[in-house]
């Protein structure tokens, strides 16, 4: 396969390399987005569980492997803050994803043009 690639014009080789790089970056952005979304879901679930509890319920917050007693209001506020931060992060990652998909599409179109005369008719 790599031998076949080395027969291609340098410009096309460069584009192929760039395509691979873009695909890898997209994969990494998607993985990060998934991770953030998972954490968001977890926070939302925990928040809705917290809302159901009475204000004087004993609540603990994990700090490393320790569980420390905490107040419901404080924990709720912390979770909301984290949620906001993660929501912002999802927006940023979403924009990155969109931009990368656009770049990939353009590059794929160019490569298809590059390679069409080469492929056996």
């Amino acid at each position: 396969m790599s031998e076949e690639i080395s027969k291609l014009p340098p410009q096309v080789q460069e584009r192929l390399l760039r395509l691979q790089q873009l695909q890898q970056t997209l994969q990494s952005v998607l993985a990060q987005k998934q991770q953030v979304e998972l954490e968001l879901t977890e926070i939302e679930q925990a928040s809705s569980e917290l809302q159901k509890l009475a204000d004087n319920t004993v609540i603990y917050r994990a700090i490393g492997s320790l569980l420390v007693k905490a107040e419901k209001a404080k924990v709720t506020a912390d979770l909301n803050e984290r949620k906001e931060l993660l929501n912002m992060r999802t927006t940023v990652l979403g924009k990155q994803e969109e931009r990368l998909r656009g770049q990939l599409k353009d590059l794929q179109a160019k490569l298809q043009q590059d390679l069409s005369p080469v492929s056996p008719s």
Binding site: E39, I43, T57, V58, A62, L79
Partner: protein, 148 residues
């Protein structure tokens, strides 16, 4: 004729690669679900056992590395249950048992659904492999006379 077969072989190989990736993803999710099921089953067993213990019973609490510290059971009816995002809530033993049971039920459902998905993908992989072999053989047969 040959190019059509070749095209189909190419399509099948792309599909096969995709299906294999899907199967791998399902397998890794299954492993995760199984690990959580084991963990929860362990918690369920512990809660069942705890129910029979009285206040001030002597306990050995695992701290990892097959090591334990001695502790006394302060209140057998109070259990701390994690609700995700690093937050844990104090529950009665009965409530905790119900939460664990419900989680186990949901995970069992997920496990069954994953097993079904895996079986479907595996069947499709087998079908595609069969077709692939068939076409490859056809292609070989078609090409041999030309070379002779």
């Amino acid at each position: 004729m040959a190019s059509k077969v070749e095209e189909e072989i190419r399509r099948l190989s792309v599909e096969l690669r995709f299906l294999e990736q899907t199967a791998e993803a399902i397998r890794s999710r299954s492993n995760m679900v199984n690990a959580v099921i084991t963990d929860l089953t362990y918690a369920d067993m512990t809660l069942e056992g705890l129910e029979k213990e009285k206040e001030n019973s002597e306990l050995l609490v695992p701290i990892g590395g097959n090591s334990y510290i001695k502790a006394k059971l302060d209140n057998p009816d109070k259990v701390i249950v994690g609700i995700g995002a690093g937050v844990s809530v104090e529950k009665t033993l009965q409530e905790a048992k119900e939460i664990v049971k419900k989680r186990l039920e949901n995970l069992e459902k997920t496990r069954t659904s994953l097993q079904q998905q895996f079986a479907q993908v595996a069947e499709r992989i087998n079908e595609d492999r069969g077709k692939f072999e068939e076409l490859a053989a056809k292609l070989r047969k078609g090409k041999t006379p030309k070379n002779v």
